[in-house]
């Protein structure tokens, strides 16, 4: 028997969720989904891009990732609302809970999409399309937002199907339908084909998914290496991966932050690195993980990206140590141009490693620092992140733990009513 895989994708997730929240929890009468609207970052903090937009806003040509200024030029009446990450988490959780009622094998692919292996449970509902429609309607009835469901025999085809026509629809893309439904689409619609790959394929005269599927594999291999094989099999609807209901362990931990002002002195930049190292190391320690490789990335005011990495003498998750290494990397990397964004990333993760290579010259500092870090983590867990901060961040412009979702994005400030 063939496998049966669903891909479920929330229609403009952040915006839908905010709309449902405003309608049913706050009691607003206007539905954001019916007017040109968008979830957008804070211009003043230079986080000013569109994170999600409604279908009416899409008609004006507003795209996710546009800057707020560009979006307003396209659609002057655009209603913009703040991001609300606490809500997204609650919605995502409730969404996944409903999927798990349909099948025990659910892979959360991102905050707003999931794969569901229905091979064993479709019999409970009759046919695949009936099950998918039931799933979609149940989510709408209980949670108030719409989803698209793609139905097929493997993950790539299901994902392609859920992307067809939106919103609130079920589409099938079984192997026998590939030719009629998928091959006529432009090649950039294919999963894993981004801007760069699209350009290369266009240069080869490949413009549709069908043309890609019929291209000689050796040609693709010579131009795109391994990636050519991947997209070739995707274009032919071949995907062997299984729905993994358990998330694989993190391969790396990193955080970056766009600073509200351009940084042109090393000491401020190093403070930002410290706040990033604090965040990254807290996450590493929470997962009992240590990193062997540390990397620092810089985006300057001209949007030029650069990064630099090095291997540690032994794996670590100690904030001070990671910060020290980051500063060293930063000094080697930075050309002095004003900095817009900084990042600290770690990789080559070691888990559950209790042994630590003691360095003759470190004396017993590591043990002390590790204990200190654990004490700080425990205090923060109990009394909140701000209960204990390094004195250097007191009254400064930099928050002591940068990166990830900043505090104000968790919950917007509504002026009245319930929050």
């Amino acid at each position: 028997m063939d496998n049966l895989i669903f891909h479920i994708d929330v229609n403009s997730a952040f915006l839908s969720w905010e709309a449902v929240y405003r309608l049913h929890i706050r009691g607003e009468t206007r539905d954001l989904r019916d007017i040109p609207s968008a979830v957008a970052g804070d211009v003043k903090k230079r986080h000013g891009i569109i994170l999600a937009r409604s279908t009416p806003a899409k008609k004006y040509g507003v795209r996710t990732g546009d800057t707020i200024n560009d979006a307003l030029k396209l659609c002057p009446d655009l209603v913009m609302v703040d991001p609300h990450y606490d809500l997204y988490e609650a919605c995502s959780e409730a969404f996944m809970e409903i999927l798990r009622e349909f099948s025990p094998c659910v892979e959360q692919y991102s905050v707003d999409e999931a794969f569901c292996d229905m091979t064993g449970t479709v019999g409970l509902y009759g046919s695949a399309v009936v099950a998918a429609t039931l799933m979609k309607d149940k989510i709408y009835k209980e949670l108030g937002f719409t989803v698209n469901v793609g139905v097929s025999t493997n993950k790539i085809l299901a994902k392609m199907a859920s992307d067809f026509k939106k919103p609130n629809l079920v589409h099938t893309l079984f192997p026998e339908e590939i030719e009629s439904k998928m091959w006529r689409l432009p090649v950039e619609e294919l999963f894993f084909v981004g801007h760069a790959t699209k350009r290369k394929l266009h240069n080869l005269g490949i413009r549709t998914i069908g043309e890609l599927a019929r291209t000689d594999l050796d040609i693709l291999r010579s131009h795109l290496k391994k990636h050519g094989e991947v997209i070739y099999s995707f274009a032919n609807g071949i995907d062997m991966s299984v729905v993994a209901d358990e998330a694989p362990p993190n391969k790396g931990y990193g955080n970056s932050t766009t600073i509200a002002f351009d940084v042109d002195d090393g000491s401020t930049a190093k403070m930002v690195l410290l706040s990033l190292a604090e965040k990254v190391c807290t996450r590493l320690r929470a997962d009992s993980a240590m990193a062997r490789v540390v990397a620092v990335s810089i985006v300057d005011t001209y949007f030029r990206y650069s990064s630099h990495q090095m291997q540690l003498f032994s794996p670590s998750n100690i904030t001070n140590e990671i910060h020290k290494v980051s500063c060293k990397l930063f000094d080697q990397l930075w050309d002095g141009s004003p900095i817009r964004q900084l990042g600290v990333h770690t990789s080559k993760i070691v888990r559950w490693s209790t042994e630590k290579q003691i360095n003759l010259f470190d004396m017993n500092r590591y043990e002390k620092q590790a204990k200190l870090d654990i004490a700080v983590d425990t205090i923060r867990e109990k009394y909140g992140d701000d209960s204990i901060i390094r004195a250097i961040f007191l009254d400064g412009p930099i928050y002591h733990m940068s990166g990830g979702i900043s505090k104000e994005k968790h919950r917007p400030n509504y002026n009245d009513g319930i929050r």
Binding site: W17, V20, Y21, L23, H24, I25, R26, G27, E28, T29, R30, L72, P76, D77, L78, V79, M80, V81, L87, A90, C91, S92, E93, A94, F95, E142, L143, G144, F145, N415, D416, G417, I418
Partner: protein, 97 residues
Amino acid sequence: MIIESIRKDIVMLHMPVDVVATFNVQGNIKPNYIRLEDENRILQTYKIENIIFCREDKYAGIPTILFCCNIIRGGQVQMINIKYHVRTHQWVLANEG
């Protein structure tokens, strides 16, 4: 650009209210009294005469329990909808069914 704070099209939001409720041994919740402003903007306590129906919702992943009930206000029976927020333990006066 429409600035959110000066929007006038939102007529009335769900309003947080004080409620006296009983919780029975099975965990069922029954609101008994509710405090609302009267015409003169003075807080008055109204007895909840009867509950017409209640329903559990989970819109936007937020669990709430909606109670549709009757109170007597100014000598007349008035139907109101109140919602209990399970996570935050707040009661709100809802403007929807």
